[in-house]
């Protein structure tokens, strides 16, 4: 805990330094990144210690605002979330040194660095807060600091719209949290999380509290249909901020849900788990389908966050089912899958957003259909992006596979149980996860295949150059982590059990057999993953040996007899995804604008398609315009006469006095 406080003070004292050196932009970046890195190393090492030895450390401050004292608590669950937050933030900060070097028209650089540090600190305090008030204040700072980062380029209309949407969404979510916390505080007479967990929030309406938590935290996490802010805010924010927001900030929602379980458990209704599993499947499938339909790379990645939050909540749901039916194997595997996927997603999604940023930095382009052939021009970005793509799809030997495997195996466990509800959940989740996996593979085949290979589809991509060193460095570290975790899953899962224990309240020996079994599975998975790499290398040596004497030749791509193929004739992302859009058109409702070539010597023809978010167009827009219309009827109250406003206040006061007597 002491180390964490030192870390926060380092971050805090970086802020005045940034203010002093605000004129020297490059120095600002280096200072901020150095501060963030130092604090993060300290926090990660101390958090690792906590999760590995299953400790709980607390520290209490005197505070005279609403509450007597504010407690910070680092238990294994909190420590588990601290690790990805600090890891990704420090790498994103290093990346930011290179990324921010391009001049922008929005927020000055020192301010955006200060907001970055505030975002990191607020996430940090959200995780270690042991008190509702501290939590809510940090939660709010987190929302506001990330809002300023989303509107960094505030001169652009799209950034303003995105920021506005984000601000509304996050506050609507927070309302539910405030109600949840106030209710809990009234019930127990305290804002202390530890007390809530110790005594349990045993109220008849605990299901209602659970739903409030799902809505409140789900808005931050991005459950469908609460996800609408994600595909707007992520593309607007600078890429290293998108990486942090998508990689770790939305995970505070998952953390919140897990923390809520410690208060509402251990006796919980069966339907919660079923509900979370199906919410996860829906988020996953809808997220990945909308991702397939996107042309904007960062929007596509944002929809994949919705998908991956879906996968995480499937695991979470299995864990809850395990708790409610007291099936220890499900509790362990479900929560393990959710936690592992949280860690893994922060790494590969961070990597992919940094990759998108690298492309944007070098070409200024976000539209996939204008890219192509970037692997030859940006070899390191390309290789890192490929690793990220394979990891997010869940292919062995990368890290995405091991977390999806945990959830898949929990699905088999469900199906082999005797309870029909659990069996149906298991079958649905396996089918759902398989569909999500297949669609995600299609989406990243499309993303990598159209962006990085083939011929460049635009001038900007033809002239693209590799990004500066700090950016490449961060991406390569993350890519290496994807492979490392994928190959050493059996070691990595030793950081999981203590966090699972914190959520479920189980004793270690209760799930030890499942833990050992899963470890055993992961050893074999790693062996096969390693073997894939070795065998491919062997084949490569053999092939090169065979070809070395035969001098292979190069030629243009076989064009089926066509004389002059051009880069324009390549398959595009839109054409690649077209079969999916056709099959799922009832959901996606892609709008195409076609101008066909006309007459004998056609002049201009064009095709353009867009896929607006269904929750946005079908749910929120009608809802809010109705609300607007209804409230407009009360507009007569508002006419600009100050005297009348004072009269309202006086009337209200009189009414209150009358009511009190």
């Amino acid at each position: 805990m002491k180390q964490l406080l030192i870390a926060t003070s380092i971050w805090f004292f970086t802020i005045p330094l940034l203010l002093i050196f605000r004129k020297r932009e490059r120095l600002c970046g280096i200072l901020a990144a150095a501060g963030i890195l130092m604090g993060s190393v300290l926090s990660i090492s101390s958090s690792l210690n906590i999760v590995l030895s299953n400790l709980v450390e607390t520290i209490t401050f005197k505070w005279s605002f609403i509450i007597e004292s504010a407690t910070l608590k680092l238990d294994p669950l909190a420590a588990f979330f601290i690790i990805p937050i600090c890891l990704l933030c420090s790498l994103a900060a290093i990346y930011g040194i290179g990324y921010e070097s391009k001049s922008n028209h929005g927020l000055p650089q020192y301010l955006s660095w200060i907001m970055f540090i505030l975002l990191l600190m607020s996430m940090f305090f959200v995780i270690i807060a042991d008190n509702g008030i501290v939590f809510l204040i940090s939660w709010e700072i987190m929302a506001v600091s990330s809002f300023f980062l989303v509107i960094r380029d505030y001169t652009e209309q799209s950034a303003q719209d995105a920021g506005w949407l984000y601000l509304i969404a996050t506050h609507l979510g927070t309302i539910f949290l405030i109600i949840l916390f106030l209710y809990a505080a009234v019930q127990t007479g305290s804002f202390s999380f530890s007390l809530w967990a110790k005594n349990g929030l045993k109220t008849p309406s605990s299901s209602l509290l659970f739903l409030f938590a799902v809505i409140g935290f789900g808005t931050k996490a991005g459950f469908f249909p609460l996800h609408v802010w994600l595909p707007e805010a992520h593309p607007a924010a600078p890429s290293h901020i998108s990486a942090v927001m998508s990689g770790v900030m939305i995970k505070t929602g998952i953390y919140g849900l897990m923390r809520t379980l410690t208060w509402l458990g251990p006796v919980i209704p069966h339907w919660w788990g079923v509900f979370i599993i199906f919410a996860g499947i829906i988020s996953g499938v809808v997220g990945v389908l909308f991702a397939l339909a996107q042309h904007d790379l960062k929007r596509l990645l944002a929809y994949h966050s919705v998908e991956n939050i879906g996968i995480i909540s499937i695991g979470l749901g299995v864990g809850i089912i395990g708790m409610s039916y007291s099936i220890n194997s499900l509790t362990f595997l479900g929560f393990t899958g959710a936690l592992l996927h949280t860690l893994n997603h922060s790494i590969f999604k961070g990597l992919l957003f940094l990759g998108a940023g690298s492309i944007l930095h070098s070409t200024g382009e976000r539209n996939i259909d204008k890219m192509g052939g970037l692997l030859k021009r940006m070899p390191l970005t390309g290789a890192a992006f490929l690793v990220g793509s394979m990891a997010i799809v869940g292919l062995p030997p990368f890290n995405g596979f091991i977390s999806e495997l945990a959830i898949f195996i929990s699905g088999v466990n469900c199906v082999l149980s005797n309870n029909i509800t659990v069996v149906l959940c298991g079958a649905s989740l396996v089918a759902g996860l398989a569909l999500i996996g297949g669609l995600a593979a299609a989406c990243f085949d499309k993303a990598f295949g159209i962006i990085f290979v083939g011929e460049p589809r635009s001038e900007k991509c033809l002239l693209a150059k590799e990004s500066p060193l700090p950016m490449v460095f961060s991406m390569l570290i993350l890519a290496a982590l994807c492979l490392l975790i994928g190959l050493s899953g059996f070691l990595v899962i030793s950081i999981i059990p203590s966090a699972v224990q914190t959520i479920s309240g189980m004793r270690a020996e209760e799930f030890l057999p499942y833990q050992n079994q899963f470890k055993h599975t992961l050893i074999l998975v790693s062996a096969i993953g390693g073997a894939v790499i070795l065998l491919s290398a062997l084949f490569c040596i053999v092939r090169n040996g065979l070809l070395s004497k035969r001098s292979p030749s190069t030629a243009p791509t076989w064009d089926c007899g066509y004389i002059k193929p051009t880069a324009k004739m390549q398959y595009t992302a839109s054409s690649f995804a077209q079969p999916f859009l056709e099959l799922f058109k009832f959901l996606l409702r892609t709008k195409s604008h076609i101008k066909l070539p006309e007459r004998l010597f056609p002049k201009k023809a064009s095709f353009h398609s867009e896929t607006p978010d269904i929750a946005h167009t079908e749910l929120y827009r009608p809802l809010f315009s109705n609300v607007n219309e209804t409230l407009a009827r009360f507009k007569f109250f508002q006419h600009g006469y100050i005297q009348l406003y004072i009269l309202y206040i006086a009337l209200a006061l009189i009414a209150l006095i009358v009511w009190k007597f």
Binding site: M390, F448, C560
Partner: protein, 304 residues
């Protein structure tokens, strides 16, 4: 666990798999009244390709050079998870079915990005269709394997197949039949056979698998041809133990029976290819979703 003595379960397919393609071709030729190519033709083809040089497209990068090899490696490692009749798989563990499906997924991912690496719109079209159909068949294959896991009451392929016997057909027959149906549809689609794709053509209407590998040549193409034979073997090996769950305590008889079962599957594929036309592309999704429905029904039927 790793059973080193079952290394033979990997060696048999490595040697025998191309024979399946030969059998399919021979059956088709016989029905069409032709003499047909030698039954060992796939071996000659692979051998011929291995001795040739290669031509690489100027557009391609290292992805193209590595893609076919990584695909082959992934499929060969998939074989280590497949039991050979009475012999348990080389490697078996709780949840190996998922690793198997995802290894095949890895192979496909590499094939697809290698195809896109050429920048050819034909290969782009093939890739698009390949990922489209495979995304739809993924739930079907996992649900079918899950139903098998429920019937065999086990977590790994070797244990599942060991627990399914002729007796199982008496009380779980309906489910088993549906599972075989689903697995067979997936076999046809994953290995680009009629009615989903036509392996004999690589142009125009049937551009799926064959068109993706249009630009491969020499040893790379040998790896692809060999890989697709092995993949066909894997898909068949998931069906045979369910179709012919005969355990006679005599190892060599069982192995022989199992290999005959594999050849039987190849003959059935040949029969289908001779008697059916390819489905319209727009109908294929229904065909694949049908397989998912079959597998889901199988799971529900286990309870009745």
């Amino acid at each position: 666990m790793i059973n080193l003595e079952s290394i033979i379960s990997v060696l048999i397919p490595l040697v025998t798999a191309p024979l399946l393609l030969g059998i399919i071709n021979r059956v088709k030729a016989t029905i069409a009244g032709r003499e047909g190519q030698p039954i060992l033709q796939p071996y000659y083809d692979i051998w011929k390709l291995l001795r040739k040089s290669a031509v690489y497209s100027k557009t391609t990068s290292w992805i193209f050079r590595l893609g076919s090899l990584i695909s082959l490696a992934a499929i060969i490692l998939g074989l280590t998870l497949i039991p050979a009749g009475p012999i348990p798989a080389l490697i078996g563990f709780k949840g190996d079915i998922f690793l198997l499906v995802y290894l095949i997924g890895l192979a496909r991912f590499m094939t697809v990005i290698s195809a896109l690496d050429t920048g050819s719109s034909f290969e782009g079209m093939g890739s698009s269709r390949e990922v489209f159909f495979s995304a739809l068949s993924e739930p079907a294959i996992l649900l079918a394997l899950l139903a098998l896991a429920k019937i065999g009451d086990a977590y790994s392929l070797s244990a599942i197949f060991a627990n399914i016997s002729a007796e199982t057909w008496f009380y779980k027959g309906a489910s088993l039949a549906l599972i075989i149906g689903a697995l067979f549809v997936i076999l046809l689609s994953e290995n680009s056979r009629i009615p989903v794709d036509d392996p004999n053509t690589h142009l125009e209407l049937t551009m799926i698998h064959e068109v993706m590998v249009l630009d491969h040549s020499g040893p790379d193409f040998a790896a692809i041809t060999y890989g697709s034979a092995l993949k066909l073997w894997i898909n068949s090996a998931l069906i045979v133990p369910v179709l012919l769950p005969i355990h006679t305590n005599n190892l060599s008889t069982d192995i022989l029976l199992w290999i005959c079962g594999m050849f039987l599957i190849a003959m059935v594929i040949g029969l289908i290819e001779s008697s059916m036309a390819r489905l319209r592309l727009t109908v294929v999704p229904q065909f694949l979703v049908g397989a998912t429905v079959l597998a889901a029904t199988a799971i529900i039927l286990i309870y009745i």
